[in-house]
Symmetry: C2
Amino acid sequence: MSRYKQVQFTDVHIDGEFWRERIETVLVRTVPSQYENLQGHGILESLTVPRPAPPLRIPVGQHGLSTQLFWDSDVGKWIEAASYALAHRRDPAIEARIDAIAELLAKAQLPDGYLNCWYLSREPDQRWTNLRDRHELYCAGHLVEGAIAYYQTTGRRRLLDILCRYVDHIAQQFGPGPGQRRGYCGHPEIELALVKLHHATGERKYLDLAAYFVDERGRQPPHYFDVEATLRGEDPKQFWFKTYEYNQSHMPVREQVKVVGHAVRAMYLYSAMADLAADLGDARLKAACEMLWRDVTGKRMYITGGLGPSEDNEGFTRDYDLPNDTAYAETCASVALIFWAQRMLNLDCDGAYADTLETALYNGALSCLARDGVHYFYQNPLESDGSHKRWTWHPCPCCSMNVARLIASVGGYFYSTGADALAVHLYGGNTATISVGGRAVRIRQHADYPWSGKVRIEVDPDAPAPFTLKLRIPGWVRSYALRVNDQAWTAPSTNRGYVDVQRTWKAGDAIELDLHMPIERIYAHPSVRSDIGRVNFRRGPLVYCAEEIDQGAAPLAALRVPRTATASAVPRPDLFSGIVTIVAGAVRVAAAGGELYRPEPYATEPATLTAVPYYLWNNRGPNRMLVWLPEC
Amino acid sequence: MSRYKQVQFTDVHIDGEFWRERIETVLVRTVPSQYENLQGHGILESLTVPRPAPPLRIPVGQHGLSTQLFWDSDVGKWIEAASYALAHRRDPAIEARIDAIAELLAKAQLPDGYLNCWYLSREPDQRWTNLRDRHELYCAGHLVEGAIAYYQTTGRRRLLDILCRYVDHIAQQFGPGPGQRRGYCGHPEIELALVKLHHATGERKYLDLAAYFVDERGRQPPHYFDVEATLRGEDPKQFWFKTYEYNQSHMPVREQVKVVGHAVRAMYLYSAMADLAADLGDARLKAACEMLWRDVTGKRMYITGGLGPSEDNEGFTRDYDLPNDTAYAETCASVALIFWAQRMLNLDCDGAYADTLETALYNGALSCLARDGVHYFYQNPLESDGSHKRWTWHPCPCCSMNVARLIASVGGYFYSTGADALAVHLYGGNTATISVGGRAVRIRQHADYPWSGKVRIEVDPDAPAPFTLKLRIPGWVRSYALRVNDQAWTAPSTNRGYVDVQRTWKAGDAIELDLHMPIERIYAHPSVRSDIGRVNFRRGPLVYCAEEIDQGAAPLAALRVPRTATASAVPRPDLFSGIVTIVAGAVRVAAAGGELYRPEPYATEPATLTAVPYYLWNNRGPNRMLVWLPEC
């Protein structure tokens, strides 16, 4: 069913300033420092499985579990992030480290293929007894993703082979056959990894296993997690999170219409569902994905692409419940939303998916990583009293590797190919070599995106080639101009958010696209209580926020934006090696020392409000911050 | 120092409709049903102390403690509430119950006077070992208050004598003398009870004990609660609430300038401080009270007179932190604010204190009790998604008896006397007989307050008497008219919120006061984040709110109030046996099914908003509610 396939990160060389700088930071600072953290926190050591296994010892953390349970996944995600970064510039030192990890894993792996270092070290006789809570298959999935990425970048199969053996073992254990467990993981992840493994190896069996896991999920009665808990001698009702909505197993996935529970689990699951819809041509699964997509983007998503307001379940609550100051909005959830969006986009090349992908990419996900490349947000609130700050490491470091693998692989989100079509989803400087209808087409993008909407694309096929170049017109665009080989090109209309330029392309062809990028005032649906009477400034794909540090003498809390005030895009080459700020007319409420309640509004005096891109907030020390500005 | 003394509840007969109906409900429904609840929940049974005492058994609840620890206080508060109600109409059945309770207490009391039923039943050898957490002196205080009220209403001394013996025992135990404990209660309450006991008995020793407890509080090093914890073999640092700000013992009370910690504890403490400032002529204590008063009313009080935003400590957090939907605003805290306000008011007859007293009385405190007299709010939020409802009983039923004793004794808040002065603080129909300068003066108020500001006061001294009648001009009044014996009376200015009518009063004199009562739009200080862009409607002393049930077809969340919209006071004789509603021009945002974010505000259509007094909310079933309405 999927008519489009992403152009792999390995085929896209990013050289535009915006992403080049982030990728370079990830390669030079983030990936090495994460390795040190994995080492310093005992996570790499955990791969060294002692023989014989020591007696049972379960470290206890929140909800009676330890993050050590899923340390394998941290290693897998680091390998994945490092591998994407290596695609930009190989580094023998990092590769030697990954090869060494592969050897540790090879040594830990049991003869039957089993490979979960936590279980092997602590509870070797308890494997596969608690899929609900213990992340066992989730860890396998992340190791698989890491192995695939390393293979794609380096061509080395050693790690991939180890993981294939493990997955073959898993395939034996799980399924509807006699003697098999009819289980699936409490934390979806392996499903999408299995689809990737299918694509990387061509083996159908991995796709089948993914389909089994997805369709088995939520089947009842009996519910697998109940059965399993009873076998452990536990009362299934004692589940910490009370409801299986938490892990999206409350009903079969095809029947689900509301986005619920733990946000990252939800996004990983839906990504796998979209994968399967594409690879199996499963229209019902596609329809379920579309329903869930409308739900989350229509009622349950922050303007930044952040997901999940609540810390309690790290996830969703009620429609339009999007508090700003207490927003959980876990980085991993926005990263995973991008995964899902890309898969939905490739089903029909519908720009609505690319719009959300781009929003989450430039805002809710990117905000995780500090400019220095070594500090991270786990939560991404939309308002701060100044108490928030990025951390260098987290007891649950999932987000740090997730943002690193996203940034390092951003090239993989720029293009897709379809039958005689090449779709350009993202703008920014890069060079790519893409096979379209059997022809190698070299694409060269020049753009100062996201600061400017002016884009030049040079199209250079190895021989004249008729195909459609689909140029995304982002949802935020109200007007644009397009020239093909210096001639104005007037498209009758856009096709689901893309201008289709259909012609025979030949060497030397060039396109100039000017996406007009005014500052927009964005309003939330009135049912979002936290945003009533508030406005957000957006320019292009960037959501802006106001930090107190930029407001001169005015306390941020005292600033209001009149509805009629003008706002200007002001380039600031001095700030963060060059950004565009928004400077708007504002008023300042003069109320210092005033009464708590009074029968007339406080007087105001003219002021100026300066806003910076949200993803950059908190890079100049802790700071009061607002995404949604009070309008007056 | 106190120049004014309250006129006791026993001397004021309420016959105005507003309070008469509430008092009647308390007498006929609330007090009897509370007795049944005290019985049904084992609280009365707990007074029957078995001999010999059973082995140690501590029921465990939140923070490792049980509400059973302070059941004596529930009994004391019920006796107090019942006694105030009985002053309106005696009831032998209720009195027989109180007399029976007195006999149970007499039987439980040890020969040395000790009388805490929980300790006597469960840990007789542990008494006075944990003043920080166990409410032992707090319980004594409430029993004392109950005994005084019963004595005032009935003249019966049996219960009062029992409690005096107990207090004498307490006075032996605590103090700076040799062999005495230098302790004080973690939950202030006994201090103000002791001042009342001093007033009721004339015994100076009770005032001295109160002064000791107040001034000993927070003295360090060493801190008494640390010493005590160490003696129990506990680590003092393991205090659940981390800081002694929780119980206002973080520093000596005279040095305290910020209102912190558990709100009820704070208000009870400050009430006792104000009492002592008055009775001891202690200017420094008065100054400390004034500082704390400015802090709470200037930065930490809800518009309803609710106090304490946080459920965590049942108390205060940061300046201007006044969230509406999660407001804790415990009923007891507003009731206790009224206690404190009355004491501050009597120091100087400054109307600012009466304004806050009236606000808390008509709004934050009164909202606790349902119209039916048998359902209660513990928390008083200023916004609801419809999930709140009053309960019939609570594991910690403190608020139910607190609101009952407040309503039943409301007559005691109407008047104070000073040297040759009679101050009228509250308006509403009543008849009072008051001694002014040695003369008995009969006062008759006619008023439909708070629905109307027109008040007629007949002054009827037993012989012509020169004194100043001080008429409060509430802080919400912008204009008023005053006639004395049908002649316009023009006051040069008000004296701290009161018009002083100084003359020789004689039988047949009458005053007509017309306090103009327009609807006002109230705005919060801009630092109150939750109220930015929002407005409240207030009329007279009543804070209004909008409940969804009154908005016709419009969802409450969709309504906005244009700044220029007019609002009218609309009498509704059909609603709650007659109230005045506010009907305002509004707009309704038409956004059903609309996008979550968009570049222009949602369109609006004309609508009407109906608001009802806050204290009445949630009397027609659970319901969405807003005190602060979005303005546009």
